[in-house]
């Protein structure tokens, strides 16, 4: 494991923590950009230049889409944990991933990928399990996809470029969907997520397009 891989993995973990733990939605979206741009570099060997560039560009595009949603996100939906606690959770996940070398987990990829994947997983689980706000949920889902891809990289080695391309397409689609959810929530005055406090009030059928 080279120091550069370790630094890239640590940056991914930090980006995941900021994406899910920052109070300001725009700061969170910047953390997401950092995570998505750095994630393709946590692989040994590195992907070919073209798939690597595809992943980076897709990450920037996804981050931009989430940033657009963040501008309309209500301020009254802070993250479940504060930023310091989220960074702590990410650090714990990172340490657990690095420590996994001690239990000879059979895998073909670098330890840094497993560490970064577990760090991202650790901070994404909370906002997904209890999703009170649509924007927070969307950000956490993108972090979760990145963590899944990193764990796959750790277990099976650097994935074929096609897998990376498919993952990048999914991330962009997810970011666009997050923008749609965020826009819809903002249009409705800040509708909360599926586990929000007012979920019982909105169980009536959506027949607004019926005539």
């Amino acid at each position: 494991m080279t120091p550069l891989l370790l630094v890239a993995g640590a940056l991914v973990g930090l980006g995941a923590a900021v994406a899910t733990g920052a109070r300001d939605a725009r700061t969170a979206s910047l953390g997401l950009v950092g995570l998505l741009v750095m994630a393709p570099f946590v692989a040994d060997p590195l992907p070919a230049p073209l798939p690597l560039a595809f992943g980076v560009v897709a990450g920037i595009l996804a981050g931009f889409l989430v940033y657009v949603a963040a501008r309309r996100a209500p301020d009254r939906a802070p993250p479940t944990l504060g930023l310091p606690a989220t960074i702590g959770a990410a650090a714990a996940g990172f340490a657990a991933g690095i420590g996994a070398t001690a239990v000879t987990l059979p895998r073909l990829g670098p330890d840094a990928a497993l560490a970064a994947g577990l760090a991202a997983l650790a901070v994404a689980i909370g906002p997904i399990a209890i999703a009170r706000d649509a924007f927070r949920l969307g950000s956490a889902l993108i972090v979760l996809v990145a963590s899944g891809f990193l764990v796959l990289t750790a277990l099976a080695g650097t994935p074929p470029p096609l897998t990376g391309i498919a993952a990048a397409i999914l991330v962009v689609a997810l970011a666009a969907a997050v923008a749609v959810v965020g826009g819809g929530a903002a249009a409705l005055g800040g509708t909360s997520g599926p586990d929000g406090p007012d979920r019982r009030a909105a169980t009536s059928r959506a027949r607004s397009d019926h005539r």
Partner: protein
């Protein structure tokens, strides 16, 4: 290469119908045209030379062609039924986007890209169907779908990373050198099997994860429900069930406890899903719980870890998705005919809607089938692969639950008509009344004596009496008369289209379109086409 035109047409169609969704008539015409063009492109998908992309491959197959054709054809018929009742602007885009995603997912080689494609298809179709117009229940349903699809794909990616589906055919491995398949580490295989079962259970809505389907039925525009609740789960199922026998088949002896756990979950789903479908009062929820009940069969196909069960499941999943699409189309027509979907308010509905009754009976036949029919044989093959003895009996009884739920709808329809049913419009076609003095033919020319030869009126009369003139007049008449006639005959037209849907379901159930051969021909190579490291 034959898949590329379909992907291009379906993606472009999605874009066009989404842009035009706020225009009622133009949007309708564009949607029907785009789906027809995509259907034409799907028909020519065939197993040909794979297109190399990024170290992987994209290729068509006979099974993929059947999936796409049935998805688009049945989806189009449901859209027409819905359009004859109301205007649901987001549904055509969801259908086309979902179909494009299914084509991508089932055409990509390797399990991880296929899972990522299925997740992207789910995300895109959900956003298109539920994103606009915004309503609290829809935004929640969309957020829930995003959460479910993302969690599923991550679990699937990790599982496929631990036990790659194509590891057994990687050059240099024992399998490739003829030493036989390599079983995975038992603990890892157990974890992976349970993870994939969780994904399959969530995508199909197996109990106790059934709330997703019911809530989706509440929030989604009804004509977008087939793609979200039937076809996309079917695509997930095809990917996972294609991977499982290759990846975990060699370890199946060591997975007795885990397989028993999945079989138990499947039996619970079959039985409780059927009970839930029987006690629902809303027809939408009856259909939703029949989907839940049949999730049990998908889980049994996974628990079998058997290539024979995989091939049977590939055929069964098409019957499942087509019959559920037909049922959803039936509920749309039913709701539109009586203004409600509550069974307690629509007793005796068969008197007013006998054509809907015929269609429902045909769907019942397609769902249950009989020995020798594809629907029956495929289902039985799955049940026998995964269960034996009393468990097989329970599974067999539970698998008939959907049929029992449909029989209940027919029994309710045979009762004494309620006030709502008595006041509903019947299915007999009607002709629009013509205002006095109005004519439907070409403009009546002036009398012969009033105009000299060669004058404009004479030339107009001559033009009107010619063949092109008569055709123009006929077109004008149809244009003038069609709209009132359409308005008057929405009920019989809907019933007619639902009968077409039921016929399509019946054709699928009997194994038309070469379903069985396509399912068998795919072999272990669907969706994995070649030796790729990492699945």
């Amino acid at each position: 290469m034959s898949l590329l035109p379909f992907l291009a047409v379906a993606s472009l169609g999605t874009l066009i119908v989404t842009v035009l969704r706020d225009r009622r008539w133009l949007g309708t015409v564009a949607a029907i045209a785009a789906i027809l063009v995509a259907l034409g492109a799907a028909v020519v998908v065939r197993p040909d030379a794979p297109l190399g992309i990024g170290g992987g491959a994209l290729a068509g197959s006979d099974h993929l062609r059947v999936v796409l054709v049935l998805c688009l054809a049945s989806g189009l018929l449901v859209l027409i039924v819905a359009r004859l009742a109301t205007w649901q602007p987001s549904a055509p885009g969801a259908l086309l986007g979902g179909a494009a995603g299914i084509g991508l997912a089932l055409g990509l080689a390797g399990t991880p890209p296929a899972l990522l494609g299925a997740a992207a298809a789910t995300v895109a179709a959900s956003a298109l169907a539920l994103g606009s117009p915004a309503a609290p229940s829809r935004i929640r349903a969309l957020a829930r779908e995003l959460r479910g699809a993302t969690t599923s794909v991550v679990v699937g990616l990790v599982a496929a990373g631990i036990v790659p589906g194509t590891a057994a055919i990687v050059p240099g491995t024992a399998a490739a050198t003829g030493a036989g398949p390599v079983p995975a580490e038992p603990a890892a295989a157990a974890l992976v099997l349970l993870g994939m079962a969780l994904v399959l259970a969530h995508r199909f809505g197996a109990i106790p994860l059934h709330a997703r389907v019911s809530r989706l039925a509440d929030a989604t525009p009804s004509s977008a429900l087939p793609i979200l609740a039937a076809w996309l789960p079917a695509a997930w199922g095809i990917v996972i069930l294609g991977w499982a026998p290759v990846a975990l088949g060699p370890s199946s002896e060591a997975l007795g406890l885990e397989r028993a756990l999945i079989v138990t979950l499947a039996l619970m789903t079959l039985l409780l899903g059927a009970v839930a479908a029987l006690i629902q009062d809303e027809v939408d929820h009856v259909v939703a719980y029949t989907i839940v009940a049949d999730a049990g069969i998908a889980l049994l196909a996974l628990a079998a870890l058997d290539p024979a069960a995989r091939d049977a499941a590939r055929a069964w999943v098409l019957v499942f998705a087509t019959t559920r699409t037909a049922l959803i189309g039936w509920t749309i027509a039913f709701r539109a005919a009586f203004g409600t979907g509550r069974l307690r308010d629509t007793a005796g509905w068969l008197r007013r809607a006998p054509s809907l009754g015929v269609a429902l009976a045909a769907i019942l036949l397609a769902v249950v089938g009989w020995p020798g029919l594809l629907a029956w044989d495929a289902r039985l093959a799955i049940l026998q692969s995964a269960t034996a003895g009393p468990a097989l009996l329970l599974a067999y009884a539970g698998s008939l639950g959907t049929g029992v739920a449909i029989c209940r709808l027919l029994v309710v329809g045979a009762g004494r008509p309620s006030a709502i049913v008595a006041g509903a419009v019947g299915e007999l076609p009607r002709l629009p009344g013509r205002p006095s003095g109005a004519t439907s033919g070409p403009a009546t020319p002036a009398s012969p004596g009033t105009a000299a030869a060669g004058s404009p009126s004479v030339r107009a009369r001559a033009a009107a009496s010619s063949l092109p003139g008569r055709l123009r007049g006929l077109a004008a008449t149809i244009g003038r008369d069609a709209r009132p006639a359409l308005e008057l005959n929405r009920v019989p037209l809907r019933a007619f289209v639902v009968i077409l849907l039921a016929g399509l379901a019946l054709l699928t159930a009997v194994g038309a379109f070469g379903i069985e051969a396509a399912a068998r021909a795919a072999g272990p190579a669907l969706p994995s086409l070649g030796p790729l490291v990492g699945g």
